[in-house]
């Protein structure tokens, strides 16, 4: 992943070990089901990897990456914010309230309707957050087995 190097450079950020490691973490995560990481999860994962990065640094780097457009921040229903690698395309989320699994989707109909609604109210639409909460098939089956 030598592109990380240029990635950071082009953002005007100095290439440092903590930044490279955090970016790599999100790139790894992006390939899995767990794309979304909280500051504390990043902190713990880094600690597991051996070398320590301070929690304050994690917060600072996440904020910088978000400002730079490299990461996207979400709040969902929980207390702490989580981040995911910011892809060019926008998407919304579908969260399992049992196991925390997160699916992503885009729906052009919904996007279009949102624009229309904003127009109707006289708002210029900047962005939006749409999050569906439900129970995934696996968790429903698990519940069935038990009860």
């Amino acid at each position: 992943m030598s592109s990380d190097y240029n990635n950071l450079k082009s953002l005007g950020l100095k290439v440092t070990a903590p930044r490279m490691r955090i970016l790599a973490l999100f790139q790894k995560a992006a390939a899995t089901e767990k794309r979304h990481l909280t500051a504390d999860e990043v902190f713990s994962l880094l600690k597991d990897e051996g070398e320590d990065v301070g929690l304050a640094t994690v917060y600072r780097v996440l904020t910088q990456f978000e400002v730079a457009g490299l990461l996207r921040r979400h709040h969902f229903d929980t207390e702490s914010a989580s981040y995911e690698l910011g892809e060019p395309e926008h998407h919304d989320h579908l969260v399992c309230v049992e196991c925390g699994k997160i699916e992503e989707f885009v729906d052009v109909d919904i996007e279009r309707r949102q624009k229309e609604i904003a127009d109707r109210f006289g708002y210029s639409l900047d962005h939006h957050t749409l999050c569906l909460y439900g129970i995934c098939k696996e968790c429903r089956e698990k519940a069935k087995d038990k009860g």
Copy 2:
């Protein structure tokens, strides 16, 4: 508003001064543009009214009211949660990122699409949060005046 009394009673909550006052606050707010109040706003409003209610009590009452279905909790983009009087009908929000004004809406197309999306992913849909962020007409005009 003597219905407050019965309102609380029917929820199995003792009728106390802090509860009555907080409920009244939300009922007043519901009639205005500022339907949504944070715990701290409730706390301040009560303080303005004279008699003091502890902040801890505000938090406890808000939580109880939410559990009882009397209030609805939102997170929007900010750090602190806000509450609004829970109406029977669900609705989504449109927030002005400049002045904080909040509009409410329901769109049957969007609601239906959400259900379809959840189905497609095999999720049973529990609830959702949709919030549009933009700039309202007034704020855009204010910005234009300034240059």
